[in-house]
Symmetry: C2
């Protein structure tokens, strides 16, 4: 394993739940030697990717990541471009819409929107990692993955996941009920890049009791339309077979 990979793995250890980590914790979590870990952190800190804070000298993500993200959004405004569509989708369905994209093999929440009306809503957070095996978004992505077998095999219940994926392939929309979060009913569609590869998923999540047949139909219709729209905005290409399925959903 390259040292660069080790250093970047250290960055991945920071999360919403543990935004600050001491040297000891980082060595334990990473499995690296303490000296190695310390040297890598020193390198990262020198470039501002992490910073040390307080008398405990704990580490946290540094200001340089903000600069990189600003440059990324300036160059590739994926998030910004998708935001209005996300809001429109949330508004049209009355539920929570969220968009995730594949980064380094994982599915990460990029953005989300709530409908501006009262009632129970599914809440989201940016930068959260969605498990492939328990989310509609995950199933949507795997359904159009060139080689999903490894990820399917790693799931706690491969059979259930495989059913869900086949269902998503057949209908063009993935669905989960109370899998990742209890009492949450989710529908998701994949999003594609210019090469026709699946790079993310768009989903609408509603509380289970709210999901009437009417709402289900509304979400399916608006979700597929929004999926096509975001794929287009990102310069992507929806595979022909799926485009036909989605046209059917639009009626």
């Amino acid at each position: 394993m390259s040292t660069v990979t080790k250093a970047l793995d250290l960055l991945q250890l920071f999360s919403r739940d543990s935004p600050q980590l001491g040297l000891g914790q980082l060595t334990r979590l990473s499995g690296l030697n303490k000296a190695t870990c310390h040297r890598l952190l020193t390198d990262l800190a020198a470039k501002g990717l992490v910073e040390q804070v307080g008398p405990q000298r704990e580490y946290r993500l540094g200001p340089a990541v903000l600069r990189l993200a600003a440059l990324r959004e300036a160059a590739v405004p994926m998030r910004q471009a998708a935001q209005p569509i996300l809001r429109k989708l949330a508004e049209a369905t009355g539920e929570t819409a969220h968009l995730s994209h594949r980064v380094a093999g994982r599915l990460v929440t990029l953005s989300y929107a709530y409908a501006a009306r009262p009632g129970m809503k599914v809440m989201m957070e940016d930068a959260d990692v969605l498990p492939y095996h328990a989310t509609a978004s995950g199933a949507a992505v795997l359904a159009f993955h060139p080689d999903p077998e490894q990820l399917i095999a790693a799931a706690p219940e491969p059979a259930a996941l495989r059913d869900r994926i086949n269902d998503a392939r057949a209908r063009g929309v993935a669905e989960t009920v109370s899998t990742f979060e209890k009492d949450v009913h989710s529908l998701a569609v994949p999003v594609f890049d210019a090469g026709g590869a699946c790079i993310g998923a768009l989903a609408v999540a509603a509380a289970v009791p709210r999901m009437t047949p009417d709402l289900h139909a509304t979400i399916t219709r608006d979700l597929t339309a929004a999926g096509a729209e975001i794929t287009g905005l990102w310069g992507g290409q929806v595979p022909e077979s799926l485009a036909r399925l989605w046209k059917g959903a639009a009626r």
Copy 2:
């Protein structure tokens, strides 16, 4: 030089002007060997820090930086916390307010706000690097830097910079006229962290012809107040001597 440092230096080569770079350009710009450069980029790409795009296989910053930035803002909402103050400052002065912070030794634009009224405004971009030697923000930071000599010596006109720094120390506010951008008149104050170290600068920039004595007084008053406010919000501590100067400015 450690390999991690080399890899991180590669990331720094991407900018607003050159958001996409080929392998050849990256090797030239970095001075690394092509094979080395390629391997580092492969490592970075595997973690989503960069991605390859198009038939030319050019590299650009990847989606992972968005995730890191989202986590950073969730943990340390510096940008978000400062935004309202920035807007208030822009509004109160009628000009452009901007906030920069030190990352890896460089001064980088973090955020900015324009006054919502007609007239000529100085325009800003996020993530731009401000030169220490030609900006009011740079002088403000150097004035409270523990060891500014090296940076001063590197300036094209060290003497002029030294004057500007001394002036900033004496008045608590740094000032430049037509140095970085022609016909732009800037005033800046430093911003501090909990340890009393200077970590950035807050500035107001106006077109030279607009800078009347009245406006100058208004900016000085509101800028020092806002500087104290942001330092406080960020959990920082304004040095006693400077706090006294600023209180004088507030009248």
